[in-house]
């Protein structure tokens, strides 16, 4: 014992204190602080995403419009690779040694322990020869991916395309999409994204510190299986869709066919079109860039986005509204002296029709007749009350779907244009416009602009004697038909059904012996109306609208061929071929006649061609801007561009008023 005996307590005290400090710290990080448990699980847990196959889209008869094909990525985990015959391997993959070395260096650089893509998107044929021998090359294996494929290369604008998600999509989805995922960008792919995409499968696996897999996390209780996207059955009929696209080859324009009794869209042609397969795979970016550069804008979904003056195809509406208002009866006649005098300006009529009644007026597309009808309609409350009368008329026209969106199940539908009274107030001054000022509306010209879908929809309304069903493109999701109330609800346009008969009579005569006599189909009663709409930039647009057969109509159609002249020249025969093909399955017209139309190149000079609309103000559009500036010849054009400042996305070209419209 020595004098420092008591110091043992000091030393023991220090030791105990420090051990207690360690225990306190352990208590804190093990019991109090929960972060470490989360970090530990983040360390070992790896989510492996299994992307589901996207739902295929079929036509109304179950034919495939778009489906998925498996493609194969060859993956490599460098550390697992054992010496092998590189020459043979390159041969199987179809690459040369330099490419092999490049990919190898890339893979090793990415990670020696983790798998990375060695060769992308092998075709089924390449893969077939490689597959049997892949086991000879340890470390290499294949990974299946699905790509969209369009067996008939048809209906590109209708189907739309998919693309990698953008940051804003990821944000909007609340984190559902991951970078690198695909999402519908346009068309059905976009509007039915939620159904088509399917359910992503998640596999929770465990990895060690090098990222090597160590089996399932928590025995797989958090795993979910991938569920493939649902099959969509569209209302499209691939036969007439293909025929339509063939007929519209080398032409700018659009075809829309609708089944009047359901509102199902049967054909949805936008021309010029493109091969949807170009928007898939490795060359996608280049192809898309080329198409955006294309002066004819193949990406434009013309059936719902292009604006055309309906021209004479509007005349049945004049008649129906006037009949409903009691302004005229079917027996009302006007004398046609080859022109209509609107104030001091003559609206020419192509024919000298003499005494003309309603049926003849429609059959011969008499401008004089309908200008008179329109004039009386506008002046029914006296010329001083033109403005309120016009407001009523505008409402009547809107009911037919002109100037409003029809809410078709596709994104980016546009609503066309029926001019507002405010617009005329601004152009001519309040109270300074009368029926004569706006007389071109009578013949579907002037500021009146409609999409092909709207024109076809009007034919459905006439075919149904006064109502239409909302046009739509998808009939069934999976095995379940879509039974939405809005698809079965009749949208009445406010015209009593009795007034349709005389108009339909006139339209039947159009085809039987009127302006579109060339479009007659043996054995089928088709009712139609031609239109030859003024086009300020070249030849008139050829328009034909029709429905058939007259009793129990099965198809209503609108065909627009830009710069093709008379409605009867191209639009009417094209419509007749499609209607006949749809109703009977073949075309009775001689093949060379059909071929002539198919082969005819009516593309306007691409330098002069200006798209009817500008869809979006993109960087590329801005570059083209100087070309799109319209020479402001007339007051209304100037004011139109003024108005467009408020709404730059709906820049349209108003056809000149006070100009002749013929047939």
């Amino acid at each position: 014992m020595n004098s420092f005996f008591e110091r043992r307590y000091v030393i023991a005290g220090i030791f105990i204190t420090i051990i207690i400090i360690l225990l306190a710290r352990l208590f804190y990080i093990q019991i109090i602080d929960d972060r470490y448990a989360i970090y530990a699980s983040n360390n070992v847990r790896r989510l492996i995403i299994h992307n589901p196959a996207r739902g295929p889209i079929l036509d109304r008869n179950g034919k495939v419009l778009v489906q998925n094909v498996p493609f194969y990525d060859i993956m490599v985990t460098p550390k697992q690779v054992k010496p092998f015959d590189t020459v043979e391997f390159c041969k199987l993959l179809g690459i040369d040694r330099a490419a092999f070395d490049k990919q190898w260096v890339k893979a090793v650089k990415y990670s020696p322990y983790l798998p990375s893509v060695f060769e992308k998107q092998l075709s089924v044929t390449t893969y077939a020869s490689l597959q049997e021998r892949l086991s000879e090359f340890p470390g290499f294996y294949s990974s299946t991916r699905y790509l969209r494929i369009y067996p008939d290369s048809v209906a590109a604008q209708f189907l739309g395309f998919i693309g990698e998600v953008q940051d804003k999509d990821i944000k909007r989805s609340g984190g559902y999409y991951h970078p690198g995922d695909y999402i519908g960008v346009t068309g059905v792919e976009k509007s039915y994204e939620s159904v088509l995409k399917g359910q992503r499968g998640v596999e929770n696996s465990m990895v060690d510190s090098r990222g090597k897999s160590k089996g399932k996390y928590a025995n797989g209780v958090y795993d979910t299986a991938a569920v493939a996207g649902q099959r969509l059955t569209s209302s499209l009929d691939i036969t007439i869709q293909k025929l339509g696209e063939k007929l519209m080859k080398n032409k700018v324009g659009s075809i829309v066919a609708i089944e009047p009794s359901t509102g199902e869209i049967l054909a949805f042609v936008s021309s010029p079109t493109y091969d949807p397969n170009l928007m898939v795979g490795r060359e996608r970016g280049n192809n898309a860039a080329k198409m955006y550069e294309d002066a004819y804008s193949p990406m434009l979904i013309r059936p719902i986005q292009a604006y055309y003056p309906p021209g004479s195809s509007f005349k049945p509406l004049d008649a129906l509204i006037a009949l409903q208002e009691g302004i005229i009866t079917p027996q009302t006649t006007y004398f046609c002296p080859h022109y209509y005098l609107a104030g001091n300006h003559k609206v020419a009529c192509e024919h000298f029709d003499g005494i003309t009644d309603l049926r003849k007026g429609i059959a011969m597309s008499c401008n004089t007749y309908f200008c008179n009808v329109f004039d009386r309609l506008m002046n029914k409350n006296g010329s001083k009350n033109t403005r309120p009368t016009f407001v009523t008329w505008r409402g009547d026209v809107n009911k037919f779907g002109f100037g409003v969106k029809l809410d078709v199940d596709l994104p980016n539908e546009r609503r066309g244009n029926v001019p507002t009274p405010l617009y005329y107030d601004k152009t001519y001054g309040a109270n300074h416009w009368r029926s004569n000022t706006i007389i071109s509306l009578a013949i579907g010209q002037g500021e009146l602009l409609a999409t092909p879908l709207q024109m076809a929809n009007v034919e459905c309304t006439i075919a149904n004697h006064g109502y239409y069903y909302r046009p739509h493109l998808i009939k069934a999701i999976g095995d379940k038909p879509i039974t939405k109330a809005e698809y079965t609800q009749r949208n009445y346009v406010g015209i009593d059904s009795q007034y349709f008969e005389p108009v339909i009579d006139g339209m039947q005569r159009v085809v039987d012996n009127g302006t579109a006599a060339a479009a007659r189909i043996p054995g089928i009663v088709m009712c139609g109306k031609t239109g030859t709409a003024q086009n300020p930039h070249g030849k008139s647009n050829s328009i034909f609208v029709a429905f058939a057969p007259r009793d129990h109509p099965k198809i209503a159609i609108a065909v627009i061929v830009e710069n093709a002249g008379y409605g009867a020249a191209y639009a009417a025969p094209i419509a007749s071929y499609i209607v006949e093909k749809y109703l009977t399955g073949n075309i009775t017209k001689p093949k060379d006649e059909v071929d002539y139309i198919m082969d005819k190149n009516l593309l306007p000079d691409s330098d002069e061609y200006r798209p009817k609309v500008r869809v979006k103000t993109t960087a590329k559009d801005t570059l083209k801007k100087p070309k799109q500036t319209i020479p402001a010849k007339k007051g209304e054009l100037r004011s139109a561009s003024r108005r467009n400042k408020k709404d730059t996305s709906t820049k349209y070209l108003a056809a000149q008023v006070m100009h002749k419209e013929d047939e």
């Binding site: 420092f4 043992r8 352990l26 990080i29 699980s41 465990m206």
Partner: protein, 420 residues
Amino acid sequence: MNNQRSFFFNVDWVTVFIYLALCTIGWFNIRAAVFDAGHPGIIDFKTDYSKQFWYIVVAISVAIVILLLESRFITALSPAFYGITMLLLMLVLVVGRDVGGNRAWISLGGGVRLQPAEFAKFTTCLLLARYLSGPNIRVSELRSLLIAAAIIGFPMFLILLQPDMGSTLVFYSLIFVLYREGLSPYYLVISALFIILFLTSILFSPLYVIAVISVVTLLVVLLLRKNKRLVVTMLTGLAICVAFVLSVKFIYNHVLQPHQKVRIDIVIGIKSDLRGKGYNVNQSKIAIGSGKFWGKGYLHGTQTQYSFVPAQSTDFIFCTVGEEWGFAGSIVVLGLYLFLILRIIFIAERQRSPFSRIYGYGVASVIFFHVMINIATTIGLAPVIGIPLPFISYGGSSLLSFTMLLFVLLKLDSNRMGIV
């Protein structure tokens, strides 16, 4: 009681039991840390746990041999043991194998390596005890203190040349032995003060630190101004502290090696480099922290089984305890250590011979320092200096030297009634 043949009755079985418990815990945790389903064998010498099995067998054999030795033999040969280890420490600088930046190992062939620094702790304790127990030696006298410091300082110097900062610092723990034998408590206080000053000067601007210590000193001086001698001492101390603080930045930036700087930075929280230098400690904290109260179960620790913590069977073995056995397991292990250390102090104090007592304190100090620094490192309270956890960490040299350290004490204790 004095009968040499009856030594089994005199051996402190409590300590032996704790020793065996720690070795067993160690072996199971090493097995968990490096478990390899392809080599489940225990005796095939292919895996760390099968090697450790044999190390334990050897260690226990050595323990038995030590217990059979003559106590006199140990005390008499202390200088020789010390001399041999010092020679080995010099030898290792020449023929040592460079592992992880340190020339710490002498290869003995067959994959067995010897780490002389581990044995130097043991022999230094022996020689220190031998010297201090000599006649007319008083630690309070400067000459004795300097010789004692030289005995401790020489191996420190040699080990620092390897360079192995961790093992060097272990020798500093022998200050507790000197304190017990009469060293002024100011040395302990000053040591603590300098550690605090060192860390705060790195953390904060030296000017703030100087300001704070000046204010504190001046307040004390003001209160006790009647004691002139104290005032002088305080002011001198203040001057030394200020000089120290001012030199810390210099030492820190120019004397310490970059990796040591980073390790200190990480502990005091200046830097967080979770992928690089701070990876070990961060993963180690994750492993221990994710164990919660009861742990994840033996061989079920994800951090352990999927090798997220490097050096997990050696310096970071406590991660396995913390992760797979949780807070409960941690308490058991720390409790065993505390009990062992207190037991050793108890044993030391019951010795008649100063040699045994001094040696006992040496054993307690060295084991305590190892436990404290090793566990503090794994939970981010101390910089990574790489010293093993006694009896638990994988490694033959470490296990053998700690066994010798402990069993020499037990041998001396079994013979405590005799006069050495």
